[in-house]
């Protein structure tokens, strides 16, 4: 993993590496958010997920979220890594680390980051359920698109 604060990666995410990026001697609090692949969603079983991203724009949008946070919580430092490709149950899809001199800002900025990721970062999740597959249509997971022609592989 590189030293870039905002990354889209294809390898497993190492949470310690993300924490390292935001550690500072003046920071007494670090919050992390780890989003993992959940097996059960409203009674439906996920077998695995596939994430696809418009990579250059996704990195740009993650950096934009970082800028927004820098304005709202000036003393914080944030790092975000999102993984794409095939992910199995319990694997880490996204990790967010925020350091801050005091804890309140670290919690708030962290939660803001994940909310914004679900709004503006061009990343898409395809659920492979036990009974079929669906591209998830929004972050509330209640607007699934109908599955397109299968076997057309993602290229990005």
């Amino acid at each position: 993993m590189s030293n870039n604060l905002f990354e889209i990666v294809e390898e497993p995410i190492e949470i310690n590496a993300i924490i390292k990026k935001v550690e500072r001697r003046e920071a007494g609090a670090i919050t992390t958010f780890i989003g993992t692949v959940r097996e059960w969603t409203r009674g439906k079983q996920t077998i695995y997920l596939e994430y696809q991203a418009y990579i250059p724009m996704a990195v740009k949008m993650l950096a934009k979220i970082g800028e927004e946070i820098g304005e709202k919580w000036p003393d914080t430092k944030i790092g975000i890594t999102h993984r794409i490709g095939r992910l199995d149950i319990s694997e880490i899809a996204v990790a967010i680390a925020v350091s801050s001199p005091h804890r309140k800002a670290a919690y708030e900025a962290n939660e803001y980051a994940i909310e914004r990721i679900k709004q503006i970062v061009p990343i898409w999740k395809k659920e492979h359920w036990s009974d079929g597959e669906t591209w998830i249509g929004d972050q509330l997971e209640n607007v699934p698109y109908e599955s397109g022609r299968p076997n057309v592989k993602d290229v990005e």
């Binding site: 989003g35 994430y51 696809q52 991203a53 418009y54 250059p56 724009m57 996704a58 740009k60 999102h82 899809a93 996204v94 994940i114 990721i117 679900k118 709004q119 503006i120 970062v121 061009p122 990343i123 898409w124 999740k125 395809k126 591209w135 998830i136 249509g137 929004d138 972050q139 997971e141 607007v143 698109y145 109908e146 599955s147 397109g148 022609r149 299968p150 057309v152 993602d154 290229v155 990005e156």
Partner: protein, 78 residues
């Protein structure tokens, strides 16, 4: 010069490819969507966001040859 269109997620699967190149000099995002809907089964284009050169754009934004246009269905990262 071409306009490059990038497709993701279900749009990519619907069209069967991840990019389309069109030999057009200039048009608006809305005109581009209309043109694409005549060739491809992409009715959802009315409901997706558009990015031009990696920045979100409006339906009346101009697209010029050399630009990269991406259609951004509702995202589901995180």
């Amino acid at each position: 010069m071409m306009i490059t269109i990038l497709l993701f997620a279900h749009l990519q699967e619907t069209v069967g490819k991840d990019r389309i190149e069109l030999p057009i000099e200039q048009l608006t995002v809305m005109e581009l969507k209309t043109a694409l809907k005549q060739t491809y089964p992409l009715l959802e284009l009315d409901h997706v966001m558009t990015a031009v050169n990696e920045e979100f754009a409006r339906d009346n934004s101009k697209v010029t040859a050399g630009d990269i246009v991406a259609f951004i269905p509702p995202v589901s990262g995180g």
